[in-house]
C-alpha cells in the first residue's frame, strides 16, 4: 500500500470518528430529551387513565369513599408511575411523573422514588431523584429552589403541597443520610412528613449531589380543586 493510500485512509478514519462524536453529542443533548418527553407524556397518560378508572369504579361501587382509601394503601410497583409532581418554580407548565425506584431505566421515563423511603404524604421521608441534564432536563433549575417554594404532588386522590425549607444543599454521592426519615443536615429535629429531592452536581458532572428538603404543608382531596400553589 502506498503512503498516499495510508494517509488517505487515516484521514477518512479521523473524519468518521469526528462525525460519530458530533452525532453522539446530538444524541445526548437533543435526542434523549425527545425520547424522555415522549416517555414522560406516556407515563402521565397511563396515570390519568388509571385514575379515571378508579373514580369510575368508586362511583359505580358500593361506597364513594372506598376507592380513595384503597389508593392510599396501594403498594408502589417497581418502575411504574404513581404520582405527578409540580414545581411552580421550574415553570408553570412543569410537571413530571414520579415512578417507583431509581434504576437507570426508570429515571429515563420520569422522576424516581427511592424505594426504601416513605410513601407520598406518609410519616418519614419521601425521597425523589431526577436528572439534572439529559433525558428532558427535569431538574435543570434545581439551584433556583428557595425556602417557601412549593412542591406539589398528586396521587390521583389527594394533592400534597410540600414547602422547601432551605436553599439546595451540596453533598457527596455517598451521603445517604440525606434521605433518612429525619434527614441529617436538614435542620429538622422531629420526625415528620418530609420530602427530599436529589440530583447531580455540577450540572454535567457526578462528583457531588444537590439536595433539597421540604415538609408537608397542606393536603386536600382532588375534588377540592387545585391547591393554592398551582393557581395563578
Amino acid at each position: 500500500m502506498s503512503v498516499r493510500a495510508l494517509v488517505r485512509t487515516f484521514s477518512e478514519l479521523c473524519i468518521t470518528v469526528g462525525t460519530v462524536i458530533v452525532l453522539f453529542v446530538v444524541y445526548v443533548l437533543f435526542w434523549t430529551g425527545v425520547k424522555a418527553d415522549r416517555a414522560m407524556d406516556h407515563q402521565i397518560d397511563r396515570l390519568q387513565d388509571q385514575w379515571a378508572e378508579q373514580s369510575l369504579a368508586a362511583r359505580d361501587g358500593k361506597s364513594g369513599r372506598g376507592a380513595p382509601l384503597l389508593a392510599l394503601h396501594t403498594k408502589y410497583e417497581d418502575g411504574e408511575p404513581f404520582a405527578v409532581m409540580y414545581i411552580p418554580r421550574f415553570g408553570f407548565t412543569w410537571n413530571k411523573p414520579v415512578l417507583q425506584g431509581t434504576a437507570t431505566g426508570t429515571l429515563k421515563k420520569g422522576l424516581g422514588h427511592y424505594a426504601r423511603t416513605a410513601q407520598l404524604g406518609q410519616k418519614g421521608n419521601f425521597a425523589v431523584a431526577g436528572h439534572r441534564r439529559t433525558y428532558g432536563d427535569p431538574f435543570k433549575d434545581f439551584p433556583e429552589l428557595r425556602p417557601g417554594d412549593a412542591v406539589v404532588l398528586t396521587d390521583g386522590t389527594t394533592w400534597f403541597t410540600y414547602r422547601i425549607d432551605r436553599k439546595p444543599y451540596r453533598t457527596l454521592p455517598a451521603d445517604i443520610g440525606v434521605i433518612d426519615p429525619v434527614p441529617r443536615k436538614s435542620g429538622y429535629r422531629e420526625p415528620g412528613r418530609y420530602l427530599t429531592l436529589t440530583t447531580c452536581e455540577p450540572e454535567w458532572g457526578h462528583s457531588h449531589r444537590l439536595i433539597a428538603w421540604a415538609h408537608l404543608d397542606a393536603t386536600q382531596p382532588v375534588e377540592a380543586g387545585k391547591p393554592e400553589a398551582l393557581r395563578r
Binding site: V28, H131, T198, C200
Partner: protein, 53 residues
C-alpha cells in the same frame, strides 16, 4: 475506505449516490438505536441518586 465503497457500489453515479445515502442513514439509525443508548450510561449524567443504585 470511502473510495473503495464507492467503487464497489453498483450502478451509475446517481444510483451510487442514492445507495450511499441509504448506507449513511442505516449507520445513523444503528448508532442512535443501539450504540448510543449503550454508551450513554457510561457517562456521568445518570448519577443523580445518593445511594449509588
Amino acid at each position: 475506505m470511502y473510495g473503495w465503497i464507492w467503487r464497489h457500489l453498483p450502478g451509475n453515479a446517481w444510483v451510487k449516490a442514492l445507495l450511499s445515502l441509504l448506507l449513511v442513514l442505516a449507520v445513523v439509525y444503528v448508532l442512535f438505536q443501539y450504540v448510543f443508548p449503550w454508551a450513554e450510561p457510561l457517562l456521568p449524567f445518570n448519577d443523580v441518586t445518593v445511594d449509588g443504585q
